[in-house]
Symmetry: C2
DNA sequence: CTGTTAGCGCTTTCAT
DNA sequence: ATGAAAGCGCTAACAG
């Protein structure tokens, strides 16, 4: 005798009520107190647990939120996922986590997955080069909010004020007297990096200084580009790193060259991380208000799920915070 | 006119076949080639995407795997989640990600969530102090494999050979001539830490050396305990850190005390991480074979889902790898 | 406030 | 190889 999972009907029978009454009780709709007790008892007695898949099929809402990011093993995104999970859980939904590894093809696969699972909404950090159309058509009718990377103002989004932050950061570097500041970028197709590049260019132009770009498609090649640059004739006298992953690569390059603290090129990087204050010298960074950002993202998503299309597209851009430690030249 | 999502029936009508034929086609069961084409065309024409929730209800399998960990924002776990996501995705399922923040109450909530969503299986890093019974009874009939922390040999598990690794690590420290080696632990209720403690104790006992325990319920207090110990009479001459989070706290304590590289107490820590080689001095660590572990975990889980209870409980314990950098005293 | 009934979209007998 | 019909567990009308 294999014991079937108890259903509403089982509970209903045991409590001597109709199935719909059990359903009502479950959803907190008006039920006579006396009946409520009987139902509650029957539920614990049978060890009944509602079936979300059945509910989803009937109601058309799955209480699941898709989250698609480049990868979890990047401090910024793992923190983001943590916050989203908490926020979404608080609202009685669960997170379906998918990664696209910066590949649009993989992203397409994951979007299709979200579609099959009928997630109520999606929080997405779009893969480099994604277009609004490709995203929209993959999930018609499903609310999407973009995080970290802005694709189009027509899509809800929550991002950093990238241009402004990069500009301020560059200006700070300039205020230390550096003139040959290099921007270090991994994948320039990524929207947020483009905006940061703009901000950097603006700040440099204002002082009539030439821009320097150190860039490579992957981090191994980037490290190579960095070491060559550091050893070359036109070695930059300061660095602006566009992501924490890039910052790591820069540190690796210093290490490879056995640069002592004094040799290290002053730098300032995007994204704060746990050990930033512990490297030598302590890293000055642009800190993102990640918690706030994810709260906004979840809020917007759920409003969109409930209210539908009525609302104007929301495009939130939050200011970064410059954290001055030593690496930029501050004492 | 609101456009309904196309269903198998819509596809069937358009292709002039029965709904079951469409279903068969979708699942790759024998269908006459001529019909297959008509169905395929209808599918693209309508933009049909199967509904997993309906399938799940009917079939009783959701193609969903629960993953519950303490938190995503810990390098070890974020890496683990990344690997699990890939592995699970490869098998056509999706990950529902939940965190318990090291709280058994929160863990109970999340287990109930997994139950409601009818996940086919669960990969779990149990909260400190969890018992087999509490875990089992929360999810009767659902396969669970424990990772990182062993609760009971009756439950499938994939963990590090913690005792052995700690012992080897301690022995290595001893080989450098240190005698007052302190074990630094955050939450001693965590199973893996207990095993590591055992290994440490064994190695110390073998040399007739006294054990030293530096421990605190949270990382702020731990940092305080560390600084007191470093400044006190019986300052340890080497440290064995039990997790990367603890290692960070130790580094923070060094920093707080403004210990220069020479003042820093030699140490060796569990868990490798990206910047381990970049701190000063570079950190010697016990590296976990995370990729292998997660592959094993997923394999076991899916076998369990398919074959059911027939299989003996699997308890995999993989050896750690000692990575010698400088911090332990090696040159 | 409560019970009956129908049906969400799919798969699975059971005939043909 | 194919179609008709039943049913997975739930909720939303609808009557009472």
């Amino acid at each position: 005798m294999k014991k079937r999972r108890p259903t509403v009907t089982d509970v209903a029978k045991l409590a001597n009520v109709g199935a719909s009454t059990v359903s009502r009780h479950l959803r907190g709709v008006s039920v006579s107190p006396e009946v409520a007790i009987r139902v509650a008892e029957a539920i614990v007695q049978l060890g009944y647990h509602p079936d979300e898949t059945a509910r989803a099929l009937r109601v058309g809402r799955t209480r699941t939120i898709g989250v698609i990011i480049p990868q979890v093993s990047n401090m910024f995104y793992s923190r983001a996922v943590q916050l989203i999970e908490e926020e979404v859980g608080r609202r009685g939904s669960a997170v379906i986590l998918l990664t696209h590894q910066e590949s649009r093809k993989q992203q397409a696969v994951q979007l299709a997955t979200i579609r099959r699972y009928r997630a109520d909404g999606l929080i997405l950090a779009p893969a480099a080069g994604s277009t609004l159309e490709e995203l929209r058509s993959a999930l018609p009718g499903t609310p999407v909010v973009a995080i970290d990377r802005l694709i189009s103002p027509e899509m809800d989004s929550v991002v950093l004020r990238n241009r402004e932050a990069a500009r301020t950061a560059t200006e700070h570097l300039l205020s230390h007297g550096y003139k040959h500041i290099a921007a270090v970028i991994s994948r320039p197709e990524i929207a947020s990096f483009q905006q940061r590049w703009q901000g950097y260019v603006e700040a440099m132009a204002e002082k009539n200084l030439d821009t320097i770009l150190i860039q490579a498609p992957d981090h191994d090649q980037l490290r190579y580009a960095l070491t060559s640059s550091f050893l070359g004739q036109r070695r930059p006298d300061a660095l602006l790193s566009f992501s924490n992953r890039v910052t790591q690569t820069i540190l690796l390059a210093f290490d490879e060259l056995a640069f002592a603290r004094e040799d290290r090129i002053p730098m300032l990087g995007f994204d704060d991380f746990d050990l930033a204050s512990l490297v030598d010298p302590p890293l000055s960074v642009v800190r993102q208000p990640t918690e706030n950002m994810m709260r906004h993202a979840t809020n917007i998503l759920f409003r969109r799920i409930e209210d539908g299309e009525l609302m104007e597209p929301q495009n939130i851009a939050l200011p970064g915070q410059l954290v001055y430690r030593r690496s930029c030249g501050c004492s």
